[in-house]
């Protein structure tokens, strides 16, 4: 086999290394630089991984597999497929953006802040690459723990309560998932390892796909896994942890949660739930789709009445995720590919959104829409970035979110036209609350709260420029990103057939 070097390994060990280095006392004061450096290296690796999609003759670039718990039939098995490549790329892009945008900001006990941040990156990368149920569960929790500490220790005044809710809620979901995993595991076939060891059951992905489960069992397990993932995404009505958590966490943490962590739930659905329980009562798929669509409309309604700008973005994100989840459960190829595409673009856009809002909050100390105003006069550059990112957020053509949204709605239309009509209301409402926000915060005359505001710093300008560049490139020429994940969609539809 001779695996000396592989992308999955680097994606896991580089962030862990960076995280650990941050905790070394001698390097205490360099946490920020270390993590920025490492996150940039990881980004480089990730870009490289796009070009080496085929394994070499002697090297396996894309898969890593070690025997882990032999007698349980568990491998440590991580690998990159199309979606994995796209999501690790997203993770690799988002982290330098997060660190770069906060570069001039002082964080208390920064070594542990950045250390934990990098550890969470390792966990997230692992989730997106895990090809073995136990590895998956392991990384799933590994990603959660650092984020929990980050959110509670560096959050706002109500952070403890909101983070606790977030943690307990998602942890309850995780436990449900664990129960489900064990149940499926007990129904898998045996596994033979290279050294001849035979395990009675297997945790491997393919074994899980082929587990012998009756239709009734599949139906129950669908519900169990669905709950776990529905909380994570989150979809209506399991979403109430999210607005508070986004509002109260430190912005870098909110970015990790909203840009990347929510994708764990979606990934769980298409890599685990759907292929495993394709036989489950179809009504469940329908209910999941309808719930997601209700969530779009519901979250859009709520976004319209938020005065807290961070909560507005949180609800808008719930609506976006709802659209992805609806397209996923409705299981039309166009929609599923839209999900794969949109997972990436949503991550980019929402990071941009948070960066702008964080700048505003830092400069004015205010996040209430009604108390802001006239920022366009004081900070024109910031305003231009915000307007571009906002219009990307509402999926204007030639921005990155448009092709995805088109595919998502189209997929949903193929499933049930009336659901596309309902989801389409979200398209209208998103314009309402987004433009409202722009108007109230940026337009109008300068208020007392905004009279002292200065325009953005150079590091913020760089980071936002990168985001805007991605927005336009991926908006004008989306095909490479679509092609990247095409095989994954094909595979999904082969499995369930």
């Amino acid at each position: 086999m001779g695996t000396y070097f592989s992308f999955p390994d680097l994606f896991i060990w580089l962030p862990i290394l960076a995280g650990l280095l941050c905790f070394i006392p001698a390097l205490r004061n360099h946490g920020k630089n270390l993590s920025l450096l490492f996150s940039l290296i990881i980004l480089g690796v990730s870009i490289a991984s796009l070009f080496f999609t085929n394994d070499g003759k002697y090297l396996s670039f894309n898969h890593v597999s070690y025997i882990w718990l032999k007698y349980l039939g568990a491998n440590y098995y991580i690998g990159l497929d199309g979606v994995g490549r796209s999501l690790t790329l997203l993770t690799a892009i988002v982290f330098p953006l997060i660190i770069g945008s906060g570069y001039k900001k002082e964080v208390s006990s920064s070594h542990s802040f950045y250390g934990l941040l990098m550890l969470s990156q390792a966990g997230l990368m692992g989730v997106f690459m895990a090809m073995d149920a136990l590895s998956f569960y392991f990384f799933w929790e590994l990603a959660l723990v650092p984020v929990y500490f980050l959110a509670s220790k560096w959050g706002g005044e109500k952070a403890i309560a909101s983070t606790f809710k977030f943690f307990v809620y998602t942890f309850a979901g995780s436990l449900l998932m664990l129960v489900g995993i064990i149940y499926v595991y007990l129904h898998t076939g045996g596994r033979t390892f290279e050294d001849g060891t035979i395990a009675p059951h297997s945790f491997s992905l393919s074994a899980f796909y082929q587990a012998s489960l009756s239709v009734v069992e599949q139906t129950w397990l669908f519900i169990v896994f669905f709950l776990a993932f529905a909380i994570k995404m989150p979809i209506f009505p399991f979403h109430t942890w999210q607005p508070d958590a986004y509002d109260q966490s430190a912005t870098p943490v909110t970015m990790v949660m909203s840009a990347i962590m929510v994708k764990m739930g979606l990934l769980g659905v298409f890599r685990w739930l759907i292929p495993m329980f394709g036989q489950a009562d179809h009504l469940l798929y329908h209910i999941a789709t309808v719930l997601s669509v209700i969530g779009i409309v519901y979250a859009s309604f709520l976004a319209m009445v938020q005065d807290n700008v961070k909560k507005l973005v949180a609800y808008s994100s719930i609506a976006h995720i709802g659209l992805m989840s609806a397209a996923l459960f409705s299981m039309k190829k166009m929609g599923v590919q839209g999900v794969f595409l949109q997972m990436f673009n949503h991550g980019i856009n929402i990071v941009g959104m948070w960066i702008v809002l964080d700048i505003i909050e830092r400069k004015t100390g205010i996040k209430k829409i009604s108390e802001l105003g006239g920022l366009a006069i004081k900070a024109p550059a910031l305003t231009i970035f915000l307007v571009i990112i906002s219009f990307a957020n509402i999926a204007l053509p030639l921005t990155n979110a448009f092709p995805g949204e088109f595919m998502l709605l189209n997929g949903l239309y193929q499933y049930k036209p009336w659901l596309a009509v309902l989801a389409g209301l979200g398209v209208i409402f998103s314009a309402v609350y987004t433009l409202n926000m722009i108007q109230k915060v940026f337009y109008g005359t300068v208020k007392e709260s905004t009279s002292e505001v200065s325009d953005i710093e150079i590091n913020e300008k760089i980071v936002l420029s990168v985001i805007v560049l991605i927005i336009f490139v991926a908006g004008v020429y989306p095909q490479p990103l679509i092609d990247l994940t095409k095989a994954s969609a094909d595979q999904l539809f082969t499995i369930i057939k």
Binding site: T240, Y298, M334, P397, Y413, G424, V432, L435, N436
Partner: protein
């Protein structure tokens, strides 16, 4: 594609370039530089458009493929341009009128600060770029890209003076109402894709693809497309944004909200005429909506006093006429009217800008009067515009409007009657505007009177050119009855099959005579009524109903906006906070409570633990016994 069209890509790219230069260099560019760049790029596009037009006239048409925009699960959407008779005509309107308006803007916007001035031209260039994409796109998706792009630019330009809340409200309203229509359009596309698997004009708009669609499909698709068109082209029920859009700078109103963007809906339907011709129900709906919009807007225009508002309602009304033409299957007449309307309405908007400029920002015609002697060019060109829109023989509007009316007559006499009456109202309110503004005595303040002056050449020259076009623009469509050949209909015939004329020449002549006589009567009536105009109080009843625009905005506020706001806050306070989050917290409390009750279990006495363990094992044994 051969090299016939090897410059075509520059047509939208030049304005895009102008946008980038002005947008990125807004701090360093001088005003004259940004004005020059902004205008020059559009002039460049205009020149290439003329060359393209000549090529097309010689019979060269084609689709230029650049790259695949989307290729996913059986659907392939190209980023391509379709150069044919219809698009080449619109190219001329957009870049030609667009260029004149850019030139005009260099003078009109001269009081703006340098970077705002550059921003203005950047937006205007971006608009031209989007509008060009809209008409050049080789499929419905590229059209939609431009479609939403022009909506964005409209939003940015209406809210150009962003410190004023009313203006940004208007901008928001325009964008949201357009988005409502856009959703209809999107759904139409999904429907079309689901049945034909394509969005390319070349594959969808032909008889073979039509055969794949049932009547129900065609009706549904075309109705949804029409919903999109009502948003963009300000028809009932989505028309109320356009009058508010007058918050933007006046040249913007001329370019976007009169000559080009608002005609996008007409372009869409003319482009897909093969679909609409097979959808009888849709055609009836379009006819009725178009006519109703024309009538409603004209009636409102009778009682408005803001010079731009009158023109705005007039635009809505004229767009209604175009839809009436589309609905009656008279596509050529609709496109013809788009063309002539672009000339005379742009002319009048620019003229009103010239007036507003001279009046120091005043827009209420009651405070004007007698402007003719202070600004002769503006006055005479404006008069030409009024004559053209009223349909006086010899002016461009006569030919296009007459064609619409003739078509309506052949369709249904009642519809013709209402349309004719609307045309009379049009003549009446336009001359009311002209007479109150330009004749009689000046009614403004002394300061204003002192300031009155003709506008600079950069403004008057576009006025003169547009005035000439408003006269001669109609001669490309002289009907046979007047000894012409209707060049336009011949030119467009590859895209739009020529309709069979059911009217005899005699009837046609009679209709022309009738409408001309009545219009002259309406103008005379306006002259008698307003020649000694004094600002009067509204006299209640019908007139205040019209002044308040049929209370449509108020109705929307009560029927749609408020219930949505109410529902949102109910969702927030009851459903979200109490029920959903309440039950989540409830579960938390329950667990808390439960664990408090079970605290005695953790007594710390080893004996008790052992006892529990043994009991537990016993229980397991019992269970296993029963299970097996």
């Amino acid at each position: 594609m051969n090299n016939t069209f090897n410059l075509v890509w520059l047509i939208p790219t030049l304005p895009l370039l102008g946008f980038l230069i002005n947008g990125l260099g807004r701090k360093s560019l001088s005003k004259s530089a940004s004005g020059l760049i902004g205008s020059a790029v559009v002039l460049g596009s205009f020149i290439i458009s003329i060359m393209t037009f000549i090529q097309v006239k010689q019979g060269h048409t084609g689709v230029i493929h650049f790259f695949d925009f989307l290729r996913v699960s059986g659907l392939k959407v190209a980023f391509s341009f379709q150069i044919d008779q219809l698009s080449s005509l619109f190219l001329l309107i957009i870049t030609g009128v667009g260029f004149l308006i850019h030139v005009y803007s260099t003078a009109y916007m001269h009081d703006e600060e340098g970077k705002d001035f550059a921003k203005y031209f950047a937006y205007l260039n971006l608009f031209v770029f989007s509008m060009l994409l809209l008409v050049m796109g080789g499929n419905f998706l590229i059209l939609f890209v431009g479609w939403e792009g022009v909506g964005l630019c409209s939003y940015l330009l209406i809210g150009y003076w962003y410190e004023n809340n009313n203006y940004t409200d208007a901008a928001k309203k325009a964008f949201v109402m357009n988005r409502i229509g856009d959703l209809g359009f999107l759904l139409a596309l999904f429907w079309l894709i689901s049945k034909t698997g394509s969005m390319e004009y070349s594959q969808v708009l032909n008889a073979a693809s039509l055969a794949k669609l049932t009547t129900f499909d065609i009706t549904g698709i075309t109705l949804l497309m029409f919903v999109g068109a009502t948003g963009k082209s300000a028809q009932i029920p989505l028309f109320t944004w356009l009058p508010d859009a007058m918050a933007g700078p006046t040249p913007v109103s001329a370019l976007i909200h009169a000559a080009t963007m608002v005609t996008a809906g007409i372009y869409l339907i003319a482009r897909s005429n093969i679909l609409f011709s097979s959808a009888l129900i849709t055609q009836q709906v379009i006819t009725i909506i178009g006519l109703a919009t024309a009538f409603l807007a004209a009636s409102i225009a009778l009682k408005q006093n803001d010079i731009k508002k009158i023109l705005a309602y007039s635009t809505v009304s004229q767009l209604g006429f175009m839809f009436l033409a589309l609905g009656t299957g008279n596509y050529v007449a609709a496109v013809f009217h788009v063309l002539t309307h672009a000339f005379f309405k742009a002319l009048m908007f620019l003229g009103s800008g010239s007036v507003i400029h001279a009046m120091g920002g005043e827009q209420d015609i009651r405070n004007m009067g007698g402007l003719h002697k202070h600004m002769k060019v503006t006055s005479i060109t404006f008069l030409i515009g009024c004559l053209a829109i009223s349909g006086i023989p010899g002016f461009s509007g006569f030919f296009s409007k007459d064609e619409i009316l003739a078509g309506a007559f052949g369709y249904n006499t009642i519809i013709y009657g209402v349309a004719l009456f609307t045309a009379l109202m049009t003549a009446f309110y336009m001359f009311r505007l002209y007479i109150i503004t330009f004749t009689g005595k000046f009614r403004g303040t002394h300061d204003q009177e002192h300031h009155l002056h003709e506008s600079p050449a950069a403004m008057t020259i576009p006025l003169i050119i547009l005035a000439i076009l408003s006269i001669i623009g109609g001669y490309i469509g002289i009907p046979e009855v007047l000894g012409g050949h209707h060049e336009l209909a011949h030119y467009l015939s590859p895209i739009i099959p020529t309709a069979h004329h059911s009217l005899s020449h005699q009837t046609e002549l009679m209709l022309m005579g009738l409408s001309t006589a009545l219009v002259l009567g309406a103008i005379t009536f306006a002259w008698i009524r307003f020649r000694n105009f004094k600002a009067e109080q509204s006299n209640g009843g019908l007139s205040s109903f019209l002044e308040n625009k049929w209370y449509v905005d108020e109705c929307y506020e009560w029927i749609i906006v408020r219930p949505i706001k109410k529902a949102s806050s109910l969702f927030q306070h009851i459903l979200e906070n109490r029920i959903i989050d309440g039950s989540v917290n409830g579960v938390g409390k329950l667990v808390n409570y439960g664990s408090r009750q079970l605290r005695w279990l953790q007594s710390g006495q080893v004996g008790a633990y052992v006892l529990l363990m043994v009991l537990g094992m016993l229980l397991l044994f019992v269970i296993q016994f029963f299970v097996s």
